[in-house]
Each structure stands twice: as structure tokens, then as C-alpha cells.
Amino acid sequence: MENPYLPNLAVINDVKELTYDTKLFVLSFKDKNVQENFIYKPGQFVEIGVFGFGEAPISITSSPFVKNCFELCIKNMGNVTNKLHRMKKNDNVYIRGPYGNGFPFDEVKNKDVLFVAGGIGLAPLRGLINEMLAHRNSFGKIQVLYGARTPEDMIFTDELKGWGEKIKVLTIVDKGDFRWKGNVGVVGTLLTNIKDETKNTVAFVCGPPIMIKFVIKDLVKLGFKDEVIITTLERKMQCGIGNCGHCNIGGKYVCIDGPVFTYKQIKDLPEALE
């Protein structure tokens, strides 16, 4: 019988420092067959583990068109991520997955797309943004609103600049510094720039729980329908496969029924937007 808890050996090909507390890990499976069969969608996650330290659920930040490797953007937050931050190129880790449902892609083709990201919430959306840019003709207007706590907390700054040449990208920080000449405030305030038609627009929202809660409220005010507001829920997860019970909310498990939900799906779900 297949054991879904059995992880596969992967090697760290590269580590890039994105901020003082966030790193980008480029990984590939040791076994070529495993790597070739590792097919994922943006919005899905893996369990990355180091024996002796445990496992952590981390969303995949690369796009499916990237071959032979995949990327995880990891903030140093807990026991496992702290260990990962002390690891280097060529070190081994263990990976299970991909898990979760992932973002809709084909379903939102020919629509305008609005991304609202807060902090490390840009990481799961990055894979989707790059995938959409690779299929640019299949989508209408694409806009990215990105907020971080301070300019130093901003991740993928080079990529934000690159995207800015092709699509509208607006950034904002909660608290600026002497070099920061841009917007200051919460990411929701950038929504005042979205005055165009919202009828054919799908919104992807990802960030800390409090940000998601308020951005959804703002989007509803702007006229977005519940089913076109797509967000992700964060929860404690251990197994990733709907068994350990930690991510249970209502009749759903965030790890298998999510982590991607439409606002319509979670609007009446108790505890969902805590």
C-alpha cells in the first residue's frame, strides 16, 4: 500500500536571499522520475521537511513552465523554516506533495485579473502571475497591488520591476523609510486606483488573515461578486492530506478542500475569516 507520508529526497540547487528574513529555495528531486512526475498548479503547496526538525507546509512560488526544478519562498518563522534558513546549496531536504487545490487558471481566461498581495502572500501569487504573463494573450488587463510592512520586507522586488514594464504594478508599505518615495498605507488603499469596470475582473487576494478580511470587504464595496474574489486561507497544517485535523474549519479541511477558496465558499463558513 502506498504511504502518502513518505517524503522524497530533494536537493537545494540554490538559495537566494530576498529580504533579511525571507529566502528563495530552488529545489529539485534527486530521483529524475519523481521530478518529471511532479506536476503542480500555482496555489498548491508541499510539505518540506528535515528529519529531526519536522515538516512545514509551504506554497510553491515557481510556475509550472519552469522545468527540472521548483521554487519555494520561505520566511524564517518557526522551527522548520529556521533550520531551512541555515541550510545551503547542495544540502538535502525531504518533500511531499503537491497538495491542495491550487488557483483556477483556465477558468479565468479572457478575464481581467487583479492581484492583491500582502507580505509573503505574494509568493503563492507569483507563480500564477508569471504563468499568466507566459500566456499573456489569454487574459485581459492584469494588475498587481502589493503591500509590505516596510520597504525592507518587500520580496521579489526585481520581478515587480520587470512586471511593471508589462502590466500595472502598484506597491505600498505600512511604514516607509527615508529612501521610500512611494505609497504609504495598507494595501487596501491602493484599491481606490481600481475604478475601471469590475464586471469582467477576477480578484486574487493573498496575505495575512487580517489583510484578507479587509481587502475582501473593499472588493465587495467596489462591486466584485463573491464568486470572483479568490483567496487563500492560512491554517496550521501537519499532514497536508486531510487527516491530522489541525486545519479543519466547518466541514472543510483547508489542506485538501483549499487552500484556495472563493469568497462565496467561505463567506458563511464559521471561523474562516478570523
Binding site: 502506498e2 526538525f53 518557526g78 492560512e234 496550521k236 501537519q238 487527516n243 466547518g250 485538501i256
Partner: protein, 347 residues
């Protein structure tokens, strides 16, 4: 075809079964009973009230090794032991049927399933309703999924078979032929009852009721209710490392939604930081959420959570009070005053 076995022959059949199986059965532990792997056939006691822990503990052990690692080599522990649950109560087997729904779901749990498929279940009917039992209300007093079902009929146990495995056992000469009419149907008097009518709708409606704050003030968040529950299956994964730091094992251990850290994520945010929210989770998962996912209540009315609660929180009482529409203000007096005034783990 029905069979029966003389009570005095139970010891003999257990002795025979012990040759091929690990026999797990109720045995006495001081004033109470526990399910244990027996060493002598005489230890088995079939006339017993609810065991301290449910027999679930053999299928989902409190600590279970998922894998061992040694210099990056991973080994999965093998378990091919054949076991027989001898004298399990109907409610506890019904609970295992509920666990099956979870463990045989999309991602099949190999540890549970291996043990489950190597198990035989001999159910024994309870002669009377225990003080805390409400299985009749939950419909779990009727055994399901058994291999053999024993009913006390005086000098004999009346034996019904429910599977091929069971049929094989009753071929032994210790079993005699019996007539259908020999079975005794006992009417039991249950003190505790749960009215299931519209319970899901009531729970949905009362999600923000002040009853939950009152329960939260009373609850000591010890988690006893879920640790003794035959349908609770949540766990945490813990790695244990050897002295060389090169080898060790990955274990899963029972966890409880009642404990403060259960929904806390790295970085400190706690999605269920409020005590009342955690008490609510226990009751809602049993009586509503499990129903939404698996079309069944996740409570078999064994009453263990009521018996072990140090502050007498009673799930049957809670469901009753939910129906009393706002006249419940004086219920659930807390023995310690407002416990939430104390700072426990930051909640």
C-alpha cells in the same frame, strides 16, 4: 444460522484464539475496566461498563512511529500482527466504523488500514445502560461491522455472525447450534438522551450564542474529552532524534482541538485562541462538521467525555440547553469564577 456458547467455554475459546491472534479484551483495572492485550484467558471480563480509553487506541495509538530515519535512509515499521478485539461494545465498534470514513478517505492512511484489516471484532452487548451512556439516542447501540456478536442469554452467549472470519471461528466445537428465539432483547433505561431532531440547524443558528462563552469560562482546556473520545482522530507529528543526531524517528501523537496550541501557526497567530471557540469546535465537529463531510454524526454516545470532564461539561446537557432559547443564562456556573480572567498560554 445462529450459534451459542456456554459462558464457561469463553475462557477456552479465548485460549484457542490466543494461539493465532493478539487478543485485546476488557480487563479489570482497580474499580474500572481497560482494553488490553491479555496474557491469560481468565483475564477477560465480558460484563463491564465503558472502558477508560476506547479500543480505538490500538488502531490509532497515542504514539505511533510513522518512519525511522538513519543517515537519510528511511524505514517504515512493519506491523503484520493479527488481532482480535474480544468483547468490544457496540458503540466502540460504531466509532471505528466512523474512523474508517476518515482513514479510508482520499489519501488512505496505511498505518490505520494495515491494523484495521488484520483485526477481528467480537462485539458483546451491554446488559444495561451505563450512567453516562446515550448510545440509544445516537443509534449506535445497534452493532455494525462485527464479525461476531455475543448476547448474554443466561448460561450461554447467543452468537450472531457477521462475516466469513466470524463464521470460521464459530465452526469450533465449543459453539453449539442455537435457535433464533433464544436471543434476549433487552430494553435499557438511558438516563441521558440527545434529541437529534434539527440539531444541525440549531447548531448553525446558535454559533454566536452566549452559551459558548459560558462553556468557555467553565472549561479547563485539559483536553480529556477528546483524549477519551472513540471518534477523535487528530494528531501532531513529532520528530525524535537520537544522540548522534543522525538517526531518529518521526512519530505521530494524539493531539486535541481543546489545547491552546492546536490551531496556532508559526509566527504566533492563533486561529482558535479563544477557549470558547475550542469547546465549540469539539461539539461542532462531532455534531455538525463531520455530518457535513461524511453524512454522519461523529458521536457514538459512549459518554466518556462526560465521565472524564473535571468540571462536568456534558454534551447531552449542552444540546438540551441549545434548545431552550435564551433562557439559559444561569447555566454552566463556573467552579473557579471566570476562568478566562486567568492568563493561560496567552489566550
Amino acid at each position: 444460522m445462529f450459534r451459542k456458547i456456554k459462558k464457561e467455554n469463553i475462557v477456552k475459546i479465548v485460549e484457542i484464539l490466543m494461539k493465532d491472534y493478539d487478543v485485546l479484551a476488557p480487563v479489570r483495572k482497580e474499580e474500572r475496566f481497560v482494553f488490553e492485550k491479555i496474557k491469560k484467558p481468565e483475564e477477560v471480563i465480558l460484563d463491564y461498563d465503558t472502558t477508560i480509553l476506547p479500543p480505538k487506541k490500538f488502531l490509532l495509538p497515542p504514539i505511533e512511529t510513522m518512519m525511522k530515519f538513519d543517515n537519510s535512509k528511511i524505514g517504515i515499521p512493519e506491523n503484520n500482527k493479527k488481532t482480535i478485539f474480544f468483547g468490544i461494545h457496540p458503540c466502540d465498534l460504531n466509532a471505528i466504523m466512523l474512523l474508517d470514513m476518515v482513514e479510508y478517505d482520499d489519501y488512505k492512511d496505511p498505518y490505520y488500514i494495515k491494523k484495521r484489516e488484520n483485526s477481528i471484532f467480537v462485539v458483546v452487548e451491554c446488559k444495561e445502560a451505563g450512567e453516562y451512556c446515550f448510545c440509544e439516542s445516537m443509534g449506535t447501540d445497534v452493532p455494525k461491522g462485527y464479525d461476531l456478536f455475543l448476547t448474554d442469554i443466561g448460561n450461554y452467549y447467543f452468537v450472531e455472525t457477521g462475516s466469513r472470519k466470524g463464521e470460521k471461528i464459530v465452526k469450533n466445537k465449543l459453539f453449539e447450534n442455537a435457535d433464533k428465539n433464544e436471543k434476549i432483547e433487552r430494553k435499557k433505561n438511558f438516563v441521558r438522551k440527545v434529541n437529534l431532531e434539527n440539531l444541525e440547524e440549531i447548531l448553525k443558528e446558535k454559533f454566536d450564542d452566549k452559551i459558548w462563552e459560558q462553556l468557555g469560562d467553565k472549561c479547563l482546556i485539559c483536553g480529556a474529552c477528546s483524549f477519551v473520545c472513540p471518534t477523535c482522530y487528530c494528531y501532531s507529528v513529532k520528530d525524535v532524534v537520537g544522540l548522534t543526531l543522525k538517526n531518529g524517528e518521526r512519530n505521530r501523537v494524539w493531539d486535541s482541538c481543546q489545547l491552546v496550541d492546536f490551531a496556532r501557526v508559526a509566527g504566533g497567530h492563533n486561529f482558535r485562541g479563544k477557549r470558547s471557540a475550542r469547546v465549540q469546535q469539539f461539539i461542532y465537529h462531532k455534531m455538525l462538521y463531520f455530518m457535513e463531510k461524511y453524512s454522519s454524526f461523529a458521536c457514538v454516545g459512549c459518554g466518556r467525555c462526560i465521565r472524564e470532564c473535571p468540571v462536568d461539561i456534558d454534551i447531552t446537557d449542552v444540546t438540551k440547553k441549545l434548545r431552550c432559547n435564551g433562557k439559559c443564562q444561569k447555566h454552566f456556573p463556573s467552579i473557579l469564577g471566570k476562568v478566562s480572567d486567568f492568563s493561560v498560554g496567552g489566550d
